[in-house]
């Protein structure tokens, strides 16, 4: 006998006793999800309006803070659009520096994601190890830019900081360390049966649905959508490097994991190529304070997927319009679809698999009138898989270092 339970999942950290606007309204039939309604709008800060009232340079710092995990993505995308309107050519060395930081950001973001995904399924060892490795990248980014997050590397016309030869050597050493460690994560991902069992078949999203619903980045590429802005609409220094675009046809969370781990390896290779080919010369050209009338659209392959910025200049030192379409917004629409026919126990990892902004993963679930916190749903998922499928990550052999 099936029971129709209404489970409502709002975005944002919330308290059990307070009534909240839902963000994912999940309809269950017994254990299985048959319909999901997505509701958003929680973190609205009015950035686009604020951009119109601030100068382009001030906007760089504002836009950097749209998301702290892919902040360099947003600023690079923004300055690229402004540079296009103003007809500014950034010197090669500046482009290389931007690209190196971009790939370092991708590395830190994917390692972060691996840890978070591990945490969601009860594989906390993975969380601890990946975040410890992530510290290696954070240290490097702090040495190169002065900050662990929000690097402030960009200005209109190029970058604000240069790299010394010693720093370039440090980058190469770091790539060696990380590549070694990542090989183990690849091994875990490809042969550890517990992980494969837990992630395969979960959160299925067909290629047609991925296209229709606009899934981007690793979410789309794991469903066979062979699309990567770095290759298909190249920007910065990507035309100068060779790399593979990771695509697979798994269409599930396991596929998304494979894409991200594969992208880590490609990032190490891209960075090595960039350091080896690093041209000399200036890192920036002087940009005018007033940007001419015109419009441009810049796209960027952020760790989560395609980020799109539209900028319209009106001849003053403030933009007429700035529009940002972040990748998570595109991917959230596909989550609803990918949750269908899954079990309630799959909700945490399926939502986490699109790699939403971290604060978006604090959620609360209301089952009838009883209240689940995200933690409780996560624990529910872990217990369900333990009791129903015998999947227990405490049995996984420890990583070898």
């Amino acid at each position: 006998m099936s029971t129709d339970m209404k489970v409502m999942v709002p975005i944002g950290p919330q308290h059990p006793a307070l009534k909240e606007p839902e963000s994912f309204k999940v309809m269950l039939n017994g254990e299985k999800i048959f319909e999901v309604d997505v509701r958003l709008g929680y973190n609205h800060r009015g950035i686009e309006k604020a951009c119109e009232q601030r100068s382009y340079i001030q906007d760089i710092y504002l836009i950097e803070r749209i998301c702290g995990i892919c902040s360099h993505s947003h600023t690079t995308n923004f300055v690229q659009a402004v540079e296009e309107i103003a007809g500014i050519q950034v010197p090669k060395r500046g482009l290389y520096i931007r690209t190196i930081v971009a790939e370092l950001e991708r590395i830190h973001s994917h390692l972060l994601w691996l840890g978070v995904a591990g945490h969601e399924i009860g594989f906390d060892t993975l969380l601890m190890y990946t975040w410890r490795d992530r510290e290696v990248v954070m240290d490097l980014l702090a040495a190169l830019s002065g900050n662990r997050v929000n690097y402030g590397m960009n200005t209109i016309g190029g970058t604000r900081r240069d790299f010394t030869p010693e720093q370039l050597q440090e980058i190469l050493r770091t790539m060696d360390v990380l590549e070694d460690r990542t090989k183990y994560y690849i091994e875990i991902a490809s042969v550890e049966p517990t992980l494969i069992q837990r992630l395969s078949g979960v959160g299925f999203l067909s290629k047609e649905d991925a296209m229709r619903l606009g899934a981007v980045g690793p979410t789309g590429r794991a469903s066979g959508v062979n699309y990567d802005i770095r290759r298909d609409d190249p920007y910065a220094a990507y035309s100068d490097v060779q790399f593979k675009v990771m695509v697979n046809e798994n269409c599930d969370v396991y596929g998304r994991t494979l894409v991200r781990v594969g992208e880590l390896m490609e990032s190490y290779s891209i960075i090595r190529q960039l350091v080896k080919q690093m041209p000399d010369g200036p890192i920036a050209v002087k940009a005018p304070r007033r940007i001419p009338v015109g419009e441009a659209i810049s796209r960027y392959e952020a760790p989560r997927g395609e980020d799109l910025h539209y900028v319209k200049g009106n001849g003053t030192d403030k933009p007429e319009r700035v529009k940002v379409r972040a990748p998570t917004l595109a991917n959230l629409q596909s989550v609803a679809k990918s949750l269908e026919n899954n079990n309630l126990a799959d909700v945490p990892i399926t939502i986490a698999a699109i790699d939403p902004c971290f604060s978006c993963t604090d959620r609360m679930i209301q089952v009838d009138d009883a209240v689940f916190t995200w933690e409780r749903l996560r624990a529910y998922g872990i217990d369900w898989y333990k009791s129903q499928r015998g999947i227990d990550f405490r049995e996984v052999k420890k990583l070898p270092w």
Binding site: E48, R212, G214
Partner: protein
Amino acid sequence: MANEQQIQTELVQKFPFLAEKFVIKRERRIFCETAYDHFLEVFGHAVEKMDFKIFATVTGLDEGENLSFLYHLSRLDGTLLNIKTSVSKTNPVLKTVTGWFPGSALYERELVDMFGAKVEGLPDGFRYPLPDSFPKDQHPLRKDWKPEMLPEGAGSIMEEK
């Protein structure tokens, strides 16, 4: 820029009114403009016959008397086709494109909240991105809107007690 020119040729042949404002800004960036009564034909043709199967988003613009909307369509080869159209600010009615792209609902809702557009055919749902208690007749991205216009306490997502 053979690819872009091919796109221009095909679109202008089918829709001669596009010729006047058709611009190839650079590789992979095509801009064209049409009055709203022809917009859906052009959009539909690009999606169904020219393989622009990825809908990135729609950007709203306050251009004084009119509200303009720039629809950004993309293809797997990386080309971005941007179709601009306008409606009057006093009666800004658009038709939804969710028939082609269910994922566009969220972007269209943003136009409703931030610009006051009326999108016909948009499936029922919540508003986005503004919270329920934000006044429905205030549209932040319109040029004449100022934050001072917000009543005190507006925007809170807590229910009235």
